[in-house]
Amino acid sequence: MTKYVIKRLVIAIFTILIIASLTFLLMNAVPGSPFLTEHGVSDDTMLALEAKYGMDKPLPIQLKNYLVSFVQGDMGVSIKMQKNRPVSEIILEKFPVSVKVGIWALIWSVTVGIVLGCLAAHYRGKVLDSILRVVSTVGIAIPGFVVASLLLIVFGVKLRLLPTSGLDSWQGYLMPAFALGFYPMCYIARLTRSSMLDVIHQDYIRTAKAKGLGNRTIVFKHALRNSLIPVVTYLGPLIAYLITGGFVVETVFAIPGLGKYFVQSIMCRDYPIIMGTTILLAVLLVIMMVVVDIVYKLVDPRIQLGKGGE
């Protein structure tokens, strides 16, 4: 187990390195300098600027320098958005805001999704199942920004029940967390339902019935744990979704989080911020994948982590 975790972490670090280098090279492959767009920059100033940001050295050296300082927590400074402010400082300020919304969305979507999925499977073919199926099918067809904007119109603009922007009070979290979690909630509900129905037809459920076990024991002991296995595999993509979905939700609700900031920095080509954020999010994702793998092992004893699975 420990051996496997270490092995996975080594691979993860390797992946992160690849992503970081690729990001760096891609950013540098852009012809022209980010300073070009500014008005009236003389050649001298250009050179001075480039020297200041270390852009006059050959690429591999720049990459090495960047990675070394990245590991030390230095991601350079912003060149447009908040000029000369260290990227790490900006990220430290913005990221916790996004994480807070993301975690609430994660919690509600997973719990509600699993519960609704179980209910739908249990009442299969009944009214409740039909309602849940319609809701979840519609739910995964609506893009996140539509959900977010509809909420904004109804509760923020028309009814004036909830604040339309910011996270100043707990009410401020309601709409963003709901909007962000709605799609994954519907997805998880569908996934749980179908995997539950799949599991219910397995031979071992028949064995459990033949033993004379009660319905509740069969569903909650024998069926649930097996049907959660696909849900665990969805956790990886879910976290990726929460990150990118955060871009939209933060834009709609004007939340001063990293997502909104990231999109803005892409628009105005603030390379250090783009790079820092991309690498940070990639690191986060890769680590979460490792965590998901380990959770997987806890749910399903058949998966033998130590043997690498091949």
Binding site: T15, I18, I19, T23, L26, M27, A29, V30, P31, G32, T137, V138, I140, A141, I142, P143, G144, F145, V146, S149, L150, L152, I153, V157, S194, L197, D198, A240, I243, T244, F247, V248, T251, V252, F262, V263, I266, M267, R269, I274, T278, L281, A282, L285, V286, M289
Partner: protein
Amino acid sequence: MDSRIFTVEEMRVATPEEKQSVIVEREVASFWSEAWGRLKANKVAMVALVIIILYIVLAFVGPVFIPYTYAEQIRGAENLRPFTYSQTEMIAKEHGATVFPHIFGTDSLGRDFLVRILYGTRVSLAIGVVASLIVLVIGSIYGSIAGYVGGKTDVIMMRVVDVIYSVPEVLVVLLLQVVLKTPLDNWFSHSQTGLANFMNTLGTGLISIFITFGILYWVGMARIIRGQILTLKQQEYVTAARSIGAKGKFIIKKHLLPNCIGQLIVTTCLQIPSAIFLESFLSFLGLGVSAPLASLGSLASDGLKGIYTYTYRLIIPSLVLSIMILALNLFGDGLRDALDPRLKK
């Protein structure tokens, strides 16, 4: 029973024809007609299909009947509410001229909103289809080669897939947007070829979406196809084909692909809404199609700006988009159930 008396006729040995006559043959339908029958029986899928056809007709034929274009800015007709007219138009009407109504009103630049919605739908649909085709071609070729050749090639090819799979795709799309913009813009402004002009209309946003699909999104398809091929490879008819000396390429074309065609169709079909989804997401963030071209996502994004006064400008494109994705999803699901009844739950 004890006093049963048999007639000679009853005890005559039955002829083979008589024996055959009591066997009612089940109707054996071909795979496709059976699948079509199942699809037709699926009401939800059929409704979805009708909606999709309606969308296609409206998006590609609809604009013909409307005397405005998506980029045309009508002076004095800015920010009209649905079914209202500008002053110039009112005067023209009074003079007996027929003015086509602005069914959904106009936007802040005086462009007819209905036409923009129709064009937006067209763009979104086209993106979905093209992106899915890219995925289909790359994914199925890659997957079938990996699955068919097997061995070390397969291991290496699947390692590559694994790596691509773990790359956060939306981040890559965003990165590509940034990276590709300048070179593409340069190329568009210097090259006079038709391709460059065409791509210029699409804009860098769209091109980078397609490239992303080309680089990243095919891995799912490749995995599915490879899995199918691996199972099919074990089947006797492939062994049989091999034993009479059929070549690899021939076997893939003749035996393997036709057998995964169902999977191919379904996966491609379900890829369309997910491509539209991604595009709308990017356009909403302002990174997708570039003005004056519009997609449903970018229209909704514009709508968000005037949310307090012109709420319908956000709601209309959002609804059009959601219904389209819903219909495509439902039809794809129906198609899957029809083509592979084993998967049906």
